[in-house]
């Protein structure tokens, strides 16, 4: 059953295609900041939190924690400042949704910041933006400047007597700083090392003060929830985790990109929305929520893209980074690519992650180079299992999940590669120096040969 989602009303991405979309003038011409102004003058902070709770908005950063409930953890009577930190350190491989908002619709985010800061009575907000997002940083910085000049931020936000300062902070290129406690460490000026929870940031976070960390997309949803009411929001997709959702489709599709779709879209429909699997090939597998999510084989992809359905299938919606792989994809290579990333990005704090990520990469690298041993497959599965749930943050799990799922679901490919050894030599570019690597499976070689024949 196919549903045409191209007609779905875009809310979050409504403005992004307009050339002037990042200016205050254009944003206000689209009704921008009216909602925030209304909230600040008419509502009490607790009412705002209650309404967000009623909308069932779940965090868009990866864990999907209910946003209103997170806000309600902030102690109300405490003589410390409360901070709102915007997590714009979008670095999960395959994810590029926050970037669009940061670069093309920064005021939508600022309006969300105002609403959230008001709800938790925070007067200082930090936007921790990924270091590589150079354009996003400058666009966002300019938007904040515009907002200050227009009295939207500062001493008297929107004339409502609420004070709010927003400061940008650029990351220095560490994936781990997208993990909320790692982000806070980095923001404090330390090495970006995740901290042990509890205490959770809402109780003791930035500078040991109550801190709410929200994702860019989560905050961007706020304006629309208040503009159209929580019931509108709740009506989109499954009630337990509803709303419009930005999903990033990349990999082997005709038109990769960020799509605004209702939560609960069928994964195959989403792939169709992105133009389908490219070059008329067949689908092999999809990673549904960034590389940390467990992979889905083609026959498992008829699934609703929402928090609970994906969790039930043993994977997760995560950051919404949908990575599509066609039938020619070499899963050993794919896994190697993923593991290289996690090895590179492990902060090195906890032993299982520090040592395990490197170990996994080396084993898969060896298999890939044609020097695999039959026992390596079980070793990979065993190491993955022993890394899970033993560390401060979930980076170890994030490395172990793809490894465990890819090896389990595509075991035969690993066995083939180990058996074939160095049968087929070839050179590939692996994000750096040209390296000689080992064989590809006979099946893939055949497909490649067929393709070459067609070309000539």
């Amino acid at each position: 059953m196919k549903t045409d989602y191209s007609k779905f009303e875009k809310v979050l991405l409504k403005n992004v295609d307009h050339p002037e979309s990042n200016t205050l003038e254009y944003y206000q011409s689209q009704g921008g900041y009216d909602t925030a102004r209304k909230i600040l003058s008419e509502r009490q902070p607790d009412e705002v939190t209650e309404e967000v709770k009623a909308s069932n908005l779940r965090g868009r950063g990866g864990a999907g924690f209910p946003c209103g409930i997170k806000w309600s953890f902030v102690p109300r009577t405490i003589d410390k400042p409360t901070y709102l930190v915007v997590n714009a350190d979008e670095s999960e491989p395959g994810t590029f949704k926050d970037r669009i908002i940061l670069e093309r619709d920064p005021h939508q985010l600022i309006e969300g910041i105002i609403i959230a800061a008001y709800a938790i009575s925070s007067h200082t907000s930090y936007v921790y933006i990924r270091g590589e997002f150079s354009k996003g940083f400058w666009v966002m910085a300019k938007a904040i400047e515009e907002a200050y000049a227009a009295g939207i931020l500062g001493e008297n936000v929107l004339g409502a007597g609420f004070q709010l300062d927003v400061t940008m902070h650029r990351g220095a290129g560490a994936y781990i700083c997208g993990e909320e406690t790692g982000l806070l460490s980095s923001l404090e000026g330390k090495r970006g090392l995740p901290k042990i929870k509890p205490p959770f940031p809402a109780v003791e976070g930035l500078f040991r003060c109550p801190t709410v960390v929200n994702n860019v997309e989560t905050l961007s949803c706020l304006r629309h929830i208040f503009e159209r009411g929580p019931d509108w929001f709740k009506a989109i997709g499954p009630e337990a985790g509803p709303g419009p959702k930005l999903l990033c489709v990349s990999g082997h599709v005709e038109r990769p990109g960020t799509f605004e779709v209702p939560m609960g879209i069928n994964l195959l429909d989403l792939v169709e929305l992105a133009g389908g699997v490219w070059k008329g090939r067949r689908l092999k597998a999809i990673i549904p929520g960034g590389t940390s999510a467990k992979i889905l084989k083609a026959d498992e992809c008829d699934i609703s893209m929402d928090f609970d359905a994906l969790a039930a299938a043993g994977t997760m919606l995560g950051s919404g980074g949908v990575i599509v792989m066609d039938e020619t994809t070499d899963m050993v290579d794919a896994l190697y690519n993923v593991l290289r990333f996690y090895h590179h990005e492990s902060c090195g704090q906890c032993t299982p992650c520090r040592e395990g990520t490197g170990w996994l990469e080396k084993i898969v690298g060896r298999i890939r180079a044609g020097r695999g041993r039959p026992e390596d497959i079980d070793l990979l599965l065993d190491i993955s299992a022993r890394m899970c749930g033993r560390t401060i943050c979930v980076l170890a799990d994030a490395a172990a999940f793809p490894c465990e799922s890819i090896v389990t679901k595509f075991r035969s490919e690993f066995e083939d590669r180990i058996r074939d050894g160095q049968g087929h030599e070839r050179s590939v570019f692996v994000g750096g120096p040209l390296v000689q690597i080992g064989a590809i499976s006979a099946h893939n070689q055949e497909l490649r040969d067929q393709e070459l024949r067609k070309k000539h």
């Binding site: 560490a174 781990i176 090495r191 042990i196 090895h343 590179h344 990005e345 492990s346 902060c347 090195g348 704090q349 906890c350 032993t351 299982p352 520090r354 040592e355 395990g356 990520t357 490197g358 170990w359 080396k362 084993i363 060896r366 070793l379 022993r386 749930g389 033993r390 560390t391 401060i392």
Partner: protein, 531 residues
């Protein structure tokens, strides 16, 4: 108070206390690397993972506070396997160069691998290489051995407050380093070697010096300042190899300073004086007789007020006591007994430690036995010698690195009888002056009182060089020869007489004092002492 179950047993503990402490207090072996009772727990090594009923994942005992009603299993299969796995990961990039590693034998990684690990490795890949470099004055880093527990980083941040160390790089390239141009140079730097659970940080002073299992270890007290840090002297073949701190929450916590740590070179250094010069004789056995006869001759000629004595802030209570008896028994006035001290240094205060300005380990003890002004009587005694009133003198010159002042050298020739108890050679001493070699601190058996009025025991870590007698034996023998004592006693025997001059001691014996010492008055909480 919180009630919970630990390995099936009902336990009550104060709210907020950490699982690992409660387990250790109850003698349950929860292994750890990064946890150190004197530092903020960080929970990064994951070696102390235990099962708790309020968490679906194993929790690190070092950072988990107890909660009401939970059930904790430290030795369930899941907990044990979690810890064995952590050890396997620890060894993935560890070089296993134990045969040439100085930590070998006292390495937590070795011990834990033996107790909790697996007996073979599944790791066949190339290991990561990390830098090996000099970190500063005393410490060298072997990065490959590092398990990134960050104890040393936290020590420099929290106790020394100097923050020289940090972790650089990420993932399995993580390794300890210093900032360019800022070496590890604080006066507490040696402690990072002690707390390193592996052989990553090695003391250059101890490098390749000894295999630790051959060493003899003796509990004693540091003699470098009036703090009296509790230490362990490690010796091999009667040579001091290194000094390491011994935990005493009331004095030094877990630490000691580098001044004390490296202050042992004089013990058998090139300057150490080890000969008797007793007029025509050089036989150790005649020392007591030499002293007894010398003093008696002066008294016979000029009366008892013509002899005087100078003890030092390094002498043990036992020696000071016998010294007092030696003169008291002959009716010498207290003003003829003075004491020499090492000049004050600078007080150094760190967030978690304090080094005293007073560089004399037993100043308080001397003051208690000879009177509070003992160290101020020096000028008066010198004047008496210059004026010819005092004609016989016993002078202690056993302050390491602090030879006799010229004012003493000048007056020695004026005396009819002078004997110097000498630690380090001094060729300015006149020919006529008798010399008795002094004992160095590792050779001493006795007790001292620190600046906080805490009495602590010195134990003999090295044997005196052949033929050398400790001061207290010579003083006792001199007393015996004069008819004032009946028999020779050991240091422990003399200790029991100390009650006569230090009333708080009463009938206490050395055994009653124990390894941690006893406060003679209400203990003053030291600035950066316990933990």
């Amino acid at each position: 108070m919180v009630r919970f179950k630990l390995n099936g047993e009902e336990v009550e503990a104060p709210k907020g206390s950490l699982l690992i402490r409660i387990a250790h207090d109850r003698g349950i072996d929860v292994p750890f690397f990064c946890y150190h009772p004197g530092l903020t727990p960080e929970g990064n090594c994951r070696m102390c993972l235990v099962e708790a009923s309020n968490s679906r994942k194993p929790v690190p005992a070092c950072t988990t506070p107890v909660a009401e009603g939970i059930e904790v299993q430290t030795h369930s299969e899941a907990a044990k396997s979690a810890r064995a796995d952590v050890l396997e990961f620890m060894l993935v990039n560890h070089p296993l160069d134990c045969p040439i590693c100085d930590k070998s034998g006292e390495c937590m990684l070795q011990d834990h691998a033996y107790d909790h690990g697996k007996d073979r490795s599944r790791m066949v890949e190339q290991k990561e290489l990390k830098h090996t470099k000099d970190l500063g004055n005393d410490v060298h880093l072997w990065g490959n051995r590092c398990i990134v527990c960050t104890r040393c980083v936290r020590f420099c941040d929290e106790v020394a407050g100097t923050g020289e160390l940090t972790v650089v790089e990420r993932g399995d390239h993580s390794v300890i380093d210093v900032f360019p141009g800022y070496p590890l140079q604080n006066p507490l730097s040696g402690n990072v070697v002690d707390i390193c659970p592996v052989g990553a940080l090695i003391d250059k002073d101890f490098l390749y010096e000894a295999r630790v299992w051959y060493e003899k270890k003796t509990d004693t007290v540091c003699n470098s300042c009036a703090r009296g840090c509790n230490i362990e002297v490690q010796t091999l073949h009667n040579k001091v190899k290194r000094l390491v701190p011994r935990h005493n929450p009331d004095v030094n916590g877990y630490w000691m300073c580098d001044h004390g740590r490296y202050d042992y070179k004089h013990i058998l250094g090139p300057n150490r004086w080890l000969r008797y010069r007793l007029g025509d004789s050089s036989a150790p056995g005649e020392a007591a007789d030499y002293v007894q006869r010398g003093l008696a001759a002066v008294i016979e000629e000029n009366g008892p007020q013509a002899i005087g004595g100078v003890i030092s802030g390094f002498a043990t209570l036992e020696t000071v006591y016998l010294f007092r008896r030696l003169f008291e028994s002959r009716g010498v006035a207290a003003e003829n007994l003075a004491a020499r001290a090492r000049p004050d240094g600078e007080e150094e205060v760190f967030p978690g430690f304090r080094i005293s300005a007073d560089k004399n380990p037993n100043r308080t003890g001397v003051q208690r036995i000879l009177g509070h002004d003992a160290f101020e009587r020096e000028a008066g005694l010198l004047e008496k010698i210059r004026s010819g009133t005092v004609r016989g003198l016993v002078l202690f010159s056993d302050l390491p690195g602090c030879p006799l002042e010229d004012r003493w050298i000048e007056v020695l020739e004026k005396l009819d009888f002078a004997v110097v108890v000498l630690l380090e050679g001094d060729d300015r001493l006149p020919e006529s002056t008798g010399i008795i070699p002094a004992t160095a601190f590792s050779e001493k058996e006795g007790s001292i009182i620190n600046e906080d009025d805490r009495l602590q025991l010195l134990n003999k870590a090295t044997e005196l060089p052949r033929g050398i007698l400790p001061e207290y034996e010579i003083l006792q023998e001199a007393l015996r020869l004069g008819g004032y004592r009946r028999a020779q006693m050991s240091a422990a025997g003399i200790f029991q007489e100390l009650g006569t001059v230090i009333p708080e001691l009463g009938e206490k014996s050395r055994r009653d004092v124990g390894a941690a010492g006893i406060p003679l008055k209400e203990p003053v909480v030291p600035a950066g002492g316990g933990s």
